[in-house]
Amino acid sequence: MAVVVRKRPVLITIVCIIGFIWIVFSLPAVFSPSIKKLGDWYPALFGMIVASSFISYIGVWNMKRWGCSLFIITFFIKEIMFVLINDISYPGIIVSVFFITSLMAYFKGMDLNL
């Protein structure tokens, strides 16, 4: 079975690096006192979002379509959570939309397999 190796565009590399940095800073936030105060299940929900973001970035890094799909799903779940806790960050939405647009631009060239 031949392993498909696709060349990663520079823009995707930059998006992924920024994403990985965001993950590094978000991971400790999962168990921060401020998230814990929101409710018993918020750390779990936020943790799930961070983990699936991390997995989606790995998928995108490897030029996999499932990475893009997971990223978009995670984005919507994250925004719904932020709306529920009344903590909407418009710069965050703009950055995420920019990321999604960048990913979609290269979506066709990505690998369909896992």
Partner: protein, 414 residues
Amino acid sequence: MIFLGLFRESILFAINALVVNKLRTFLSLLGITIGIFAIITVFTIVDSLEQNLRKSVQSLGDDVVFVQKWPWTFGPDYPWWKYMNRPVPDYTELDDILRKCDGAESAAFVINANITVKYKSSSIENVSIICASHQYNRVKNFEIDEGRYFTEIESSAGRPVAIIGDVIAKALFPYHSPIGQMIKVNGSKVMVIGVFKKEGESILGGSSDTQVLVPIQYARSLIDIRSDNLDPEIMVRAKKGISNDDLIDELTGLMRSIRKLHPKADDNFALNQTSLISNQFDSLFNMVGIAGWIIGGFSILVGGFGIANIMFVSVKERTNIIGIQKSLGAKNYFILLQFIFESIFLSLLGGIFGLLIVYVITLTAGDTFGMEISLSRSNIILGFTISILIGLVSGFVPAYGASQLDPVEAIRAS
């Protein structure tokens, strides 16, 4: 069904890894165990302290305003020399407040002193005696376990009656009921008519368990109730629907008129409320929580690296097995999930050990510190969440690497 099969297989792999490489697995899990232990211990202590504080504040009354000489909080430019000359609240001011304050539901004049209580040959020194006017039971939250509260006549006539705390009752009357018994308070005989319900230790002090409550009119015969040293106070409870801020505004005007202060003169009284204390503690708890979060965060990070390391080794060791599985038709996701489940299981195991250590500590520490320390549901959820998250994040890269292996190359690997 396939997920259940995968799950079972992954757990078997993880157990196998545990059994075969006990020391290696133990050292890897230790990181997660210490991390979970550090974070959850700090959060448990902070939560328990906060809970105890809220309980104590609630017993003082969160809708009660205290008219006193000294404020409870002050900044760096605190002009204490000005406050020194302030008069202490007077019993006559209570009448004015009760008559004129529309926002007050009830009010009581209270002083606190230390005395010696005796019953036959038993005596307890330095007992806190609360001398209060009749409406004390309406401004202070407490329950009477045995007996009753003072009647209006007992309060106004200053009858020698007392309600004692649970600890005092058990110390002086270990074998029979204290109700109707005569105790000596500073040498004066007082009849016990009630026992407070056990409250437990209070973080702010002043638990009713170690207090004796007597009518203020009776206390006049025991102590000088106008003494500055006793720090007299008037407790005023707001009516339902009246906020503390509104009550404070009204009391400010009322107290200024009672004390006939010049419009330009500063207030010569302090109006304190329990939120002042809880706000001070909130910032302290936040600091402790953040400190624990940082320390525990680093431990978790190290633990995550440990799990990632063990998973990379695990993939390397089982490369040819992966190759055989793939050549027999196993899909990439099958291999991926197999290693992810294993990683989560290992991390979860470390987390469970950490939580168990915290639980054992909470069982023993409660008695040592004299306060209730409990592992809350939210902290258990948090412990499991962190464990699963670390297992998932640190195990994904090795698992994904394993899933992408070429079967021919993998089988050839030794």
